[in-house]
Amino acid sequence: MATLGICDSANLNGGQKLAVKYFTVAIVLLGAQVLFGLLAGLQYLYPDFLYGVLDFSVNRMVHINALVVWLLYGFLGSVYWLLEDESQHEVVGLKLGNLIFWVLTAAVTVVVLVYLLVQVGPGTESTIWLINEGREYIEAPRWADIGIVVSVLVVFYNVAATFNKGRYTGIAGVLVLDMLALFGIYLAGVFYTTNISIDQYWWWWVIHLWVEATWEVMVACIMAYGLMKVLGVRRKIVETWLYIEVALMFGSGILGLGHHYFWIGTPEYWFSIGGFFSALEPIPLVAMVVHAVFDAGARHAKNSNHPTMAWLIAHAFGNFFGAGVWGFMHTLPQINLYTHGTQWSASHGHLAFFGAYATIVIAMFYLAVQKWRGDVWMSGELPGNGWKWKWSLGLLNLGMVGMTVSMLVSGYVQSQIERAIEGSSWIGYFAAQSHHWFAQGMWWRELFGVMFALGFVLLVWDLMTIGRGEKRTMVPAESEA
C-alpha cells in the first residue's frame, strides 16, 4: 500500500486525510499571521504606511485572528490525525466532517475578506452581527460565531462517537472532556453588553480558559500521542503524566483566571486569588519539560522523526519560558499595575503562543508529512543533512526569541515612563513611545520578524520536499513492553 517518497493519500486513514486538509489551511493562515504581523510592526516605524487603507487596527486584528484560527485548525487537524490510531476505529461521520471542514473554511474566508474590505461599520448591533464584534481575539461577527459553534459540535460528535465505538483510552477521555470544555467556554463570549466590566469578565473566560487551561490540556494530549509515536514511550507512562498535567494545569489555571480581574472593576479579592493561582501556572509546564526531556534522554534521543522530536522539545521549553516564565514575570498585581497593557503583554503573548502552541502544531505537521509520504525515513542522515528543517527551526525560534526580547525592552521603557512616572495619560503614553529605547525595540522586533518570516518560508519549502524520493522506510520507535 505504501508508496514510498511521494504524498499519496492511500497512505493515510480517513481521519488523517481530513487532518491534512486542516493542516494545509493552518499553514496558509500562519503565513497570513506572519504577513500582517510584519505590516503592523512596520506601522510602528512608519506610521503613515498604509494609513487609511489598512490601518494598524485592521492589520493587528487579522494578525491575532489568524493566530487563533490557524492554531484551532492545527488542533482539530491533530485530533483527526490521532483519532483512528487511538480509537482503532474509523471516524464515524467522516463525510459530515469533510462537509464541515469546507463550511468552516468558507466562513473563515468570508470573515477575513470582510475584515479587510469592509473593516468597520456603524455603531449598531447589526455591525456586531455582520462585520466585526470589536472584541480582541474574538472579533468574528456573530453569524460566524454560530457557524463556529455548529462546526465544532460536529467535530466533537465525531471524536466522542468514534472513541465510543472504538477504544476509549486515557488520552481519549481527557481529549473528549477537554474539547467539550473548550467549545462550551466559547459560548461565554457570544453576547453583547454595554457594561464593559461584565463584558471583559466573560471575555476573559473565553481567552484565558482557552489559552491557559483547555488549550494547554489539548497540547498535553498531543504531546502524549507524539511521544508514544516518535519515541515509543509506554502508554501507561504518558497517560499517568497526562493526568498529572491536567491536575496541575486545571488546578492552577482555572482560578489563575483571576490575574485578569485585577483592574476591570472586579473586587479586590481577585488580587490574592489571581496572584496566587496564576503564580502556580508554570508548575505543570515544568512537569512537561521534565516529562519530554526525560523520555527523550532515556531513549538516547533515538526516535523515528527528528523534526517532530525537535519541535516537541521546542514546545516543552517554549511553553515553559513563554507561558510560564514570561507570564509569571508580570502576573503578580504589584508588578502588573505597571505592565498591564504594555509591550510586556505583547512580549509574553508572542513567546507564549509560539512556544506553547505553534511549536507542537508544527511537530504534528512533520508527523503528518512523514506518514503521507508512506512512512518514510525522517531520522538522521537526511539529504543535505536535513538543513532545511534545521535552519527553519533555528530561524523561527531565534526570530521569535529576538522579537520577544525586543518587545520586552520596549515594555520596560513603557512601564517605567508611561505607567510609573506619567500615569498612563496621553502625554505619558507618547513620552514612552517616542523614547529612543522604545523605538529601538520596535526596530529590532521588525528585524527579527523578518528572520521569523524567512524561517516560515523555509518551513513551508521543507514540508513540501522533506522525504520526497526517499527510499528508506521509517524504523518505528521501539515500543516498550
Partner: protein, 197 residues
C-alpha cells in the same frame, strides 16, 4: 517498580485530576456569582449610567492607598441632564460604536486591547483635552475626524472612521461613564484634568 507506589499510579492521578478540576470550577462559579453581583451597573464599583450627569474625579484614597473615582457635583454631559434610560441609550450607542470601529485593536480599555494608542480607561479625565470647558467639544470633534488633528511627535494618527456626530457623543458618554468604574487604582499615578471651579 516505582509505578506500584500509590503516588505514581495512573488511577490516583486520574482521580486527582477530576477532583481538582471539578473543585476549581465550583469555586470559580461561586466567585463569578459574587463578582457579577458586585460589578453590575448601579453598584459602588460600576456606577449607574446616569453618572454622566455628574463630575467624575480620580482621587487618592488614604485608606485604600490608591486612586479611586469620586462622583462629584452635577455636571451634565453636553449640558443636558439625562434620565437613567436616556443615559443608558447614549452610553450603549457609544459602547457599540467602540466595538463597531474596532477601537480595541489600537487602544486599551481598562488596560485590555492593543498597544498602538493610549489607554482609554481614564481618557475622559486626560489633560490632553485642555480645559474642562472645551473638553466635550474637543473630544467629539477629534473622534469624528482625527486625521488632521495634533497627535504626538512620533507621527502616529488615528484614522477617520466615519463616526457620526451622535456616535461621537455616545463614545464620549461611554468614556465618561467608564472613568467612573472603580479599577482598584489602575492606572496608577494618573494626573487628571483640572475640574475645580
Amino acid at each position: 517498580m516505582a509505578t506500584n507506589q500509590w503516588w505514581a499510579s495512573e488511577s490516583f492521578w486520574r482521580k486527582t485530576a477530576i477532583w481538582v478540576t471539578g473543585g476549581s470550577m465550583v469555586v470559580l462559579m461561586l466567585l463569578t456569582m459574587d463578582t457579577l453581583s458586585q460589578i453590575s451597573v448601579g453598584t459602588t464599583r460600576v456606577p449607574a449610567y446616569s453618572v454622566i450627569n455628574h463630575r467624575i474625579e480620580y482621587k487618592f484614597d488614604e485608606q485604600r492607598r490608591v486612586q479611586v473615582p469620586v462622583i462629584g457635583v452635577k455636571e451634565p454631559l453636553f449640558g443636558k441632564e439625562l434620565n437613567e434610560e436616556e443615559a443608558e441609550a447614549l452610553v450603549k450607542l457609544g459602547k457599540l460604536t467602540t466595538q463597531a470601529k474596532n477601537c480595541m485593536n489600537c487602544h486599551t480599555l481598562l488596560g485590555n486591547g492593543a498597544y498602538y494608542a493610549p489607554d482609554l480607561t481614564k481618557a475622559w479625565l486626560d489633560q490632553y483635552w485642555g480645559t474642562k470647558e472645551v473638553r466635550e467639544v474637543q473630544m467629539v470633534e477629534f473622534i469624528k475626524d482625527p486625521s488632521d488633528k495634533l497627535h504626538n511627535s512620533v507621527g502616529r494618527r488615528m484614522p477617520k472612521l466615519g463616526i457620526t456626530d451622535e456616535e461621537a457623543r455616545g463614545v464620549v458618554a461611554f468614556l465618561k461613564w467608564m472613568s467612573s468604574i472603580d479599577t482598584n487604582g489602575f492606572p496608577y499615578n494618573f494626573k487628571s484634568i483640572e475640574q475645580e471651579n
